[in-house]
């Protein structure tokens, strides 16, 4: 287990930590550095640039309020260019060279997986703002996006209760998030008594554009006399031709509704929404949420970007929550020292934009409400359903046999991200 390379890194890390500690307490003129690790070029730039801007706005806002612990916050922006190995290098740069106190970043799961060892070795703090497939809990990472039980499962529940859906198409792009989510959903549906022949699972390559066969399969699957819905984990660009083909083949949202987990305000902006109207999306936040906090946030955002057409979306709210949690935890700990902030973060509670308070759980996931929205012609969502209370993020899904027995609790004395309740040991089932 102990390899020399790792040992060396650990040694250099502790040396570095000592220096940051010393310099941190040395003078009050110094700033507190916040790292922003979002792609500003390449394929993910479309989504991630917005999050960088959102972070800059939040930091500017905090500085206007007098900064943190009497110091100004200083953003450090790096560009990992949608290149997964580069994410690890840039994370290292942020932690080792710039010595930032917290990092807000990443979008895709593969980029998060590539920075995990860096944050572990250099003992940093990462706030990850995007909905993901779960099955992970790491000491240095705080997951402010939705786990599957905060997005996928409530969406399926909505369809079960409100649309009385009996047949299910789970359609996704062929990579880790859709595959894991669909595995959880299939297990969940079977637990709800849905028969095997009433579930159709379909995967397509990235950027798939010829949906004729699949849409006609869905249509055939859906005309068996039972109400059918599509749960879509289709990613990015492939969505538009998919919805277009649905429209062309005469399938409306009233016939076969599609509920998507990757289609938000940002993705709909500037698109021909005609074929999408009435289809659904599940998120923890919509721009159309009617609260004072949200109105204020939207106004600030439009002001900051100097563009009245800019929209807000769910991962932005996740950063809003995450940033405020970090600020509060630093105030609580009285320093930016990583270990005490990590301990202080658990239990911190801050207002979210949908009118409630989100709390950081011991498993480093947060509590959020789940909203179901219908796509409108203007690219906004009309909220048609909302969970009664807040839903706590579950790192390890209860619907997969391997992960059902795992729990995560980073508080002492357990301090474990994958504690196996059957074998009573930390380290999962391996």
């Amino acid at each position: 287990m102990l390899n020399p390379k790792k040992f060396l890194k650990a040694a250099s890390l502790s040396a570095m930590l000592a220096t940051t500690l010393v310099s941190g307490s040395a003078s009050a003129e110094e700033t507190i550095k916040v790292g922003i690790l979002h792609s500003l070029s390449g394929t993910m730039a479309i989504s991630e640039t917005t999050l960088k801007d959102a972070m800059l706005m939040l930091i500017e806002d905090q500085n206007a309020k007098g900064g943190l612990l009497g110091k100004k916050l200083e953003p450090v922006v790096v560009d990992p260019a949608s290149d997964w190995p580069l994410f690890a290098e840039k994370a290292k740069e942020l932690l080792a060279v710039h010595k930032v106190d917290a990092v807000f970043g990443n979008w895709t799961s593969v980029s998060r997986k590539s920075v995990l060892p860096v944050f572990e070795e250099l003992n940093g703090i990462l706030f990850y703002p995007v909905q993901y497939e779960g099955e992970e809990s790491q000491r240095n990472v705080f997951y402010t996006g939705a786990a599957p039980n905060q997005q996928a499962i409530p969406a399926v529940d909505y369809l079960l209760e409100n649309e009385e859906v009996e047949r299910w198409v789970l359609a996704g792009t062929d990579y880790v998030y859709p595959r894991t989510t669909n595995k959880i959903l299939a297990a969940y549906l079977k637990a709800k008594g849905v028969a095997d022949e009433d579930i159709m699972i379909n995967y397509t390559p990235f950027g798939h554009s010829d949906w004729q066969t699949i849409v006609s399969d869905i249509k055939a699957f859906g005309s068996a006399g039972k109400k059918t819905a599509v749960v879509s984990t289709i990613n990015g660009d492939a969505n538009v031709p998919f919805y277009k083909e649905l429209g062309n083949q005469g399938i409306s949202a009233e016939d076969i509704p599609v509920v998507a987990f990757s289609v938000g305000e940002e993705e709909l902006a500037g698109l021909d929404t005609e074929p999408l109207v009435g289809h659904l999306a599940a998120w923890n936040y919509f721009q159309s949420v009617e609260t004072e906090a949200n109105y204020e946030f939207i106004a600030k955002w439009k002001d900051f970007t100097k563009d009245i057409n800019r929209v807000t979306n769910d991962p932005m709210e996740a950063h809003y929550i995450g940033f405020n949690m970090w600020v509060k935890a630093v105030e609580k700990a009285g320093s930016t020292e990583v270990d005490s902030v990590i301990d202080a973060l658990v239990g911190v509670s801050v207002p979210n934009l949908s009118g409630g308070y989100s709390t950081m759980m011991p498993n480093h996931h947060i509590t959020k409400p789940v909203l179901i929205g219908e796509i409108q012609a203007d690219g906004q969502f009309e909220i048609v359903d909302q969970t009664d209370g807040l839903v706590a993020g579950d790192a390890w899904s209860d619907y997969l046999p391997d992960s059902a027995k795992l729990i995560s609790d980073w508080r002492a004395p357990l301090s474990c991200g994958n504690y196996n309740v059957e074998t009573k040991s930390c380290g999962g089932d391996s």
Partner: protein
């Protein structure tokens, strides 16, 4: 001042509400039920709509219609329900009288979800089933056909008696058949009629119902046998139509491949230039379409239906002139050095992508479909979507035009002469450098007009070209370098093969299998399907 007026109107409205409340005691007018729509949660809406529908009062149709369209609101202060269309005056939902002096900010939208809209549509259908307007009756029958609920059976039977339109008559009979087959109380005669009706209707929905029917144990053996035979007949015809449908999907995928590859068949196939920037020519064509539509939207909204026709020559010119500049500026210095050409054109492709990204931004651009390119035609068991149909026709047209240019024009003759024997052509007085430049421009221009067509089915983004470049090379190499017919046959073969594999192997594996097949095929026949023969090959 204004608020005072508002108050006055509001109080006047209150009086109206109160008055109608009184009359409600005598006869349940929908006023009360209409206003109930403003109360309660989404989950209560279905019951509220059912209650409205139970009044059988045609006055509720516009109310439900507005609910479906998202134009139904209520006053925040007293909960009165109003219809506020996107344009035009607001109306009192219950009385249908126009309202004035109301501000949109004093209204709150009454939400509906898919289920509520479905129920509202069915409620409207029940009321309009006997409407004197044919279109309304058609919509009503379709809605009830889709829902196929036992409670609408008596309504449908009644409508069938009075229906005069023969087409609608059959549709009604089919809807009745769908319902009576699920009806436990149906007579043997009704069941037989329903089975016969569904057998002629065919399709997945009828099949599922018949299968469920044969599984029932309370039916006579005679009906069971008839239903089993009907199931077999439908399955057989569906299998046949399924093959036809796959061929169609294959041809339409093939036509997209053909469009993407046809320009490359000139630049790579005829001229032998490994042109990595080919995809970006397609992208330029698509962005030209976007710009044309933007200009039309802002300045001449009347001609939107012709936007594609206007974009075609412009896209040809834009992509063609970029191609021309590329040949004159870069490629002509690199003839005979394929590796350098590959790298140089790849560089150009990156420059073009980034240029478009800087000018138009990294996000997808919205290119609208004209009316005539939306929707679908049904041909027996086949479903032909309009945009695919047009693209297939367009691809074949472009192909035919290109063939004519190559075979029948002076330019085509010179082009073939230059590519077959450059020195001989030069000595006959052909200015070979200019022929090269125009040939490359032609290939690029054709890629540009392909972009116009592809903008209708793909995302218009800076990455558009990258999605098609591999496919294009695949088609040209498979079909045989230097042969236009090869490109046509290659594109169609790959399209159909891919679509026949997809239902069995899935989209991901089908694509991989196609690639493996091409690799093996090229091993066996390195020159592709239609290899060029003769001395020209050696040159």
């Amino acid at each position: 001042m204004y608020s005072k007026l508002l108050q006055l109107v509001a109080s006047a409205l209150l009086v109206v509400v109160a008055l109608s409340f009184q009359s409600a005691h005598a006869e349940p007018a929908p006023q009360q039920l209409v206003n109930a729509l403003a109360t309660g949660k989404l989950k209560q809406k279905p019951a509220q709509i059912e209650a409205l529908a139970a009044t059988k009062n045609p006055a509720i149709i516009p109310v439900l219609q507005a609910l479906i369209e998202g134009e139904l609101f209520y006053l925040k202060n007293d909960g009165q329900v109003v219809i506020a269309p996107q344009s035009g005056p607001m109306i009192d939902a219950a009385t249908g009288k126009p309202l004035s002096g109301l501000n949109k900010s004093s209204l709150k939208k009454i939400k509906a979800n898919n289920k509520v809209r479905r129920i509202a549509r069915a409620a409207i259908a029940k009321l309009t089933l006997q409407s004197p307007v044919l279109a309304e009756r058609q919509a009503a029958v379709e809605a009830l056909f889709k829902a196929a609920k036992p409670e609408s059976l008596s309504l449908l039977l009644e409508a069938q008696k009075n229906e005069t339109d023969p087409q609608l008559q059959t549709r009604l009979a089919q809807a009745i058949a769908l319902i009576s087959l699920q009806d436990k109380a149906a007579t043997a005669k009704a069941q037989q009629a329903a089975i016969a009706q569904l057998r002629s209707l065919g399709g997945q929905q009828a099949l599922a119902l018949l299968q469920a029917f044969t599984a029932r144990d309370d039916i006579a053996p005679q009906e069971k046998e008839a239903a089993t035979r009907a199931v077999e007949a439908i399955e057989k015809s569906m299998a046949l139509w399924g093959i036809g449908q796959n061929v169609w999907y294959g041809l339409s995928l093939g036509s997209v491949l053909l469009l993407a590859a046809i320009g490359l068949a000139i630049t790579f196939g005829v001229m032998g230039i490994i042109n990595m920037a080919h995809g970006e020519m397609v992208m330029l064509g698509a962005y030209t379409t976007f710009v044309v539509q933007e200009v039309i939207r802002s300045s001449f909204p009347g001609v939107f239906e012709y936007s594609l026709a206007i974009a075609l020559p412009l896209a040809f010119l834009v992509a063609g002139s970029v191609g021309f500049a590329m040949e004159r500026g870069i490629i002509r210095f690199l003839y005979g050095r394929p590796l350098e050409t590959l790298l140089a054109t790849w560089g150009v492709s990156l420059v073009l992508q980034q240029a478009v990204r800087s000018i138009f931004g990294p996000t997808n651009k919205q290119v609208g479909n004209p009316e005539w390119m939306s929707g679908a035609y049904e041909l027996g068991g086949l479903m032909l979507t309009a945009n695919r149909l047009w693209i297939l026709a367009f691809a074949l047209l472009v192909f035919a035009l290109l063939l004519v240019v190559l075979r029948r024009t002076r330019f085509g003759l010179q082009m073939r002469a230059v590519t077959q024997n450059r020195r001989m052509a030069a000595s006959m007085g052909i200015r070979t450098p200019w022929v090269d430049a125009f040939t490359f421009a032609l290939g690029s221009g054709i890629a540009g007009i392909a972009g116009v067509a592809l903008s209708q089915i793909a995302n218009v983004s800076p990455n558009l070209g990258q999605t098609y470049i591999i496919d294009s090379f695949m088609v040209v190499v498979f079909g045989g370098v230097g042969n236009l017919w090869g490109t046509l046959v290659g594109a169609m073969t790959l399209g159909v093969a891919n679509k026949f594999l997809e239902p069995y192997a899935g989209a991901v594996l089908a694509k991989i299998l196609t690639l493996v097949f091409i690799i093996l095929f090229i091993q066996k026949r390195p020159r592709g399907l239609f290899a060029q023969k003769g001395r020209a090959v050696e040159a």
